[in-house]
Amino acid sequence: MKGLKVYAIAYLLFLYAPIFLLPMFAFNDADIIAFPLSGFTTHWFEELTRNAALQAAVRNSLIIAASTAVLSTILGICAARAATMADWPLKRPMMGLIMLPLVLPEIIVAVSLLVVIVQVFGLGLSNTTIIAAHTLICMPFSIAVLNGAFQNLDPALEEAALDLGESRWSAFRLVILPLVMPGIISSLLISFTISLDEFIIAFFLSGANPTMPVYIWGLLRFPGQLPVVMAMGTILVALSIVLLTIAEIMRRRGLKRAGLKDTGGFL
């Protein structure tokens, strides 16, 4: 029993201790990343605000993440709705294929997309290409969240709305949409977070304007910039935690609204 406890604590430390180093050195008044700490400073955060290239990268990332979140959620709604409807031919293989990017190595996705976009279609690399690729990898997450929301719905609810005089579209808008709204918000936040800090695909597919993770990776070549990276990372981690927490709260609220028990969440 004691051995297990030690193991569990060591496991958690191994997982999360490095993340705690981020804020530690982000506020450390020294150029080099090393103990002992030299004192408190917000200098590195101030430097962040002065770096125009970094700001452009952040703007890129935000545009990409927001577009990806919206696209992947809209497509996810369609897929989840189709998955919860009565059986249609090839439903299972089709859903399997849509979920596949979840386990596909990202480097493979990145390389093959690069080949397709540049060689096959002869297109240039831009934010659009990254949005398309991020939508691809975010969709399985959106579907996983939305599937839960749609599956929890009694199919009679939609029929009841039809029976009471609504059209298919207005039944969806008045009954289904409000009931799956927490799932939609949850899906938006999760896709946004995934896209925001995705590196491999963005690295391959970004042209002249890097995204934030790609820019941070570029900074690493200059040791003097390392604390700035730490400051950036601190902001990212805080943002991710906040967004994912909201996503989970929305998912649980959705279950409660539908009057269902929590059967283990996505997070």
Binding site: D154, A156, L157, E159, A160, A161, L162, D163, L164, G165, E166, S167, L174, V175, P178, L179, R257, A258, G259
Partner: protein
Amino acid sequence: MTLIQLTGVNKHFGDYHALRDIDLEIQQGEFFSLLGPSGCGKTTLLRTIAGFEDVGTGAIRIDGRDMKGVGPNLRPTNMVFQSYAIFPHLSVAENVGFGLRRADMTREEKTRAVGQALEMVGLGGYGARAANALSGGQRQRVALARALILEPKVLLLDEPLSALDKKIREQMQVELIKLQREVGITFILVTHDQEEALVMSDRIAVMFDGGIGQMDDPETLYRRPKSKRVAEFIGMMNFLDGEVTQTGARIEVKVQGLGRCTVESEQAPGGVAPGPVGIGIRPETLSLLFEGETTTRKQVDAVVDEVVYYGDMTYYDMRVAGIDKPLTLSMKNLIGRPVLDVGTETRVAWDERSLVLLGR
């Protein structure tokens, strides 16, 4: 006046023949039930009338209008779903008023209509409550009010009482009958509970394997079932083997263990031909002779094989010479009447009028 008319309706789900040659006429103001075991097609039939399922072949006419291609939102029908399908994100009043969204009414008129509908189902003052906070019986009432507020020509009820406790169910049965008389709307009820169908309906269609086995009023259905299957499904029935020796206005039949009998032709509602025939006898049409009792009815020697005491009634399984399985009969537990022990030798009184000749 005929309100709903189904002619030659067939429906397949893949290879599965869900509805077979359904011909049906339902009158304006009638309380009509579709009764049958699960999987018999009763719910499918209700859903085709509501417009949730297409008919394969055949036609459905409601109020003289062919319903082909008419969606559920455009039919003069409203449904109470088995799960009630109360919208969980809306209040009770919003649920009940949902169908009025497209109605040409002012806000005040709508509010008044919702109030009246809630009053009608005994939920006056519940409007502001969250739909999630209601009990099963209350949800059922909300579903009723929501469907009736649109004053449909037909109200369709899909097993509306099956999720309720026995007490509330019986209370709701009576309330539903009263409500139906009050509003005068045609009700079509789907149920697997034969007692519920007998209590509530003007007419019942008993369904098996997608087809209608028999369609009659409750009393005829109970007293004169046309086939063994219908007889088995409705109430309790003893089945004996017999042989018809003469047909005509009066039918001569030899009954296993009971001997030669003569019955009226109306006792063979499914038709009759010379040769082997199934005979049905309801337990309550047989009686035991207690000590000192006499009767002018026919009698046969019997031994008590099993006793089941229900409080108001006692059910006896009787062994009778010449009948291979025990004959079940029920006796009212009147004052001074004992409950006999297993093994008691006594006599069973019976009557030719209680026999039903069952078709195949």
